[in-house]
Symmetry: C2
Subunit: 372 residues, 2 copies
């Protein structure tokens, strides 16, 4: 009886070994593809090929009576690894100009990431760190591009020091706010200016499918090559104006940091038992706790600066705080009617995306559950 | 040149097709395994086998020069599908008593799920719905178990109607609060009493690795078979006392619902453009928006009842609200020192779990990124 089970499990083990062999082969081919892509300056991420490939595999899955969802998830996971493998081959250098790129704050985590990607693409990169300013004239000698990757509060004073860059030098900042830094850059430098906001952490190992928000400054034709270079890295670029960018970041960053911080502070002050809380949690809450923990594992200065960098943030948070107070009143009065009324209005607000978001959250929950 | 790329991509397509064939075979074997497990009453989820299998595959991956993380993720995803396939075979019936099980509220979503699982395990299940109470005496004729699966506000009045159950009948509720319902059950019924809280949505297709919290009521030896039955379904059981359960649910449910609701209300009142917000979002925020959207796609009554069911909730939320106000003061005063001080204290609070949680969040972010 249990021999029967053992036998079947052995069969599964044999299949799984074949599986690993297949993956090994696949990743080797992918390395070859990486070489060709590098040679021809093709982007590491080809969404059209990806979509076509996935949909024909899904068709085949259906013909075999296997869930196409399953096949899609598996292939996507393998592709993530593949992109990483292609990465190792480096990237085609788009701009053949011989002058170097300077990263100010190049030893910070994000600075290091750009440094790595630029070097993988064949550029000469110099770094200008806190203690290098006495030597700045030498380091900043005729660069083709200067990338400012420093804490938000230092952006203005540092950029003000960059008044004598060559006229054709491209000046770029990576701050998570865009309107003011962009204006400072435009005032200080008369050449090409570009604001970027990388929407990922510096711990990213490859940039495929990662989002960088682009706020154009001046002479976009002069830095178009750099956008193309990032596309080759696999980055997804999204262009928006700086004021809109800053407005949306209230939701996407400021409010999230505020809530995450408050959750952490609540845990601390309620002195809850973390082990027990994790034991009692469903996968969704596991991820929430993990994300809160992740936040507090980062640099507090960075978040203090972002949160305190603008009076607008406080203004925005206070508006949100009023909404919380409204909600508390509803709960306190047990005003079920109002609760349901708002609930339905918000549902309507989500309307056209509800189905898509619901599917997405199903996928996520499934994946979370795999990892318990 | 591009012919070269085409050729390699064709090779990949060939491998991927082999891949699908392998998965098809594997799932067929799994169906066979399901039959054996059913026959012998083995749990659909065997964590020891799973762990052993994964670790030897990871070893083999390493030997092949492939990331063991990759192999682990792939096998876990395949196993999720496998559990679903094993599910189809039904489950061994643990309790051979011939009397039926009654689900009060059995047409609600969670009631339906339990109905399905019990029937797949060979039990006779009757349902008692809102409109069946005139017929209750007949339906409630000598049941071996009564499961109360109804909105939280109705739990007390409904349980009060169950005063004449047979002495050996097991009385169970599935509410998301446990202390008071459990007491009501203990007062009304003198036989075995059990409080359960399923930590998953009723849309779950199989219960493997899903968590059900167990609050013992009375005569646990009488309902041990039912706990065993759920283990066979693959459920993970966690025993805690009802008061502790309710305390932790303040964090795991009440506070989350409160914040989720407030986020939605904030979107509504700020009248933000959802499309643009999604375009500008990184994967983490995508998932947050998806989860908020998911919340508002559910039944508002349910959440109103949970939130308003207890004065304790309000008390707890108000304590949290004070923390928010403290945080606002810190931001408004630009009190960086205090900000960093709290930040570090919270980091310390997370201490022993920081690494584990950080790894978990890395995995999650990777997966999220696959799905863009």
């Amino acid at each position: 009886m249990l021999d029967e089970l053992k036998k079947l499990r052995k069969n599964i083990d044999v299949l799984d070994k074949k599986f690993i062999k297949l993956i090994t082969k696949r990743l080797k081919i992918v390395t070859e593809i990486g070489k060709i892509k590098k040679k021809h300056g093709l982007s590491i991420h080809d969404p059209i090929r990806e979509k076509k490939m996935l949909s024909s595999r899904c068709e085949e899955a259906k013909l075999n009576g296997v869930s196409s969802c399953l096949v899609k998830d598996l292939l996507k996971r393998i592709m993530r690894e593949s992109y990483f493998n292609e990465n190792q081959e480096g990237f085609k250098k788009i701009c053949l100009n011989l002058r170097p790129i300077i990263i100010i704050g190049g030893l910070g985590k994000m600075g290091q990431l750009f440094n790595k990607m630029l070097k993988l693409s064949g550029y000469k990169v110099h770094i200008l760190e806190k203690n290098d300013w006495h030597n700045a004239k030498k380091i900043l000698n005729n660069p083709m591009m200067v990338i400012v990757s420093i804490p938000v509060l230092l952006v203005k004073p540092i950029i003000l020091k960059l008044s004598s860059l060559p006229k054709d030098c491209i000046l770029i900042d990576l701050t998570s706010i865009k309107h003011r830094p962009l204006n400072v850059m435009l005032n200080v430098h008369s050449g090409p200016v570009l604001g970027l906001h990388p929407m990922f952490g510096p711990e990213c190992k490859n940039l495929v499918k990662q989002l960088i928000i682009v706020c154009h400054g001046r002479y976009p034709e002069k830095y178009e090559w750099f956008l193309e270079q990032m596309r080759i890295w696999g980055v997804k670029l999204y262009v928006v104006n700086a004021i809109q960018h800053d407005y949306y970041m209230n939701f996407i960053q400021i409010l999230r940091y505020f809530i995450t911080f408050s959750y952490g502070l609540n845990f601390l002050e309620e002195d809850v038992n973390l082990k027990k809380m994790l034991d009692l949690s469903s996968p969704i809450y596991h991820i929430e706790i993990a994300m809160i923990g992740r936040f507090f594992n980062q640099n507090p200065e960075l978040y203090a600066d972002i949160m305190m960098s603008s009076g607008n943030n406080i203004f925005f948070i206070k508006r949100y705080y009023k909404i919380l107070s409204k909600l508390i009143t509803i709960l306190e009065k047990k005003d079920k009617e109002k609760f349901i009324d708002y609930f339905k209005k918000i549902k309507t607000w989500f309307k056209s995306y509800a189905k898509k978001l619901s599917k997405k959250s199903d996928d996520i929950l499934g994946q979370l559950n795999d990892n318990i």
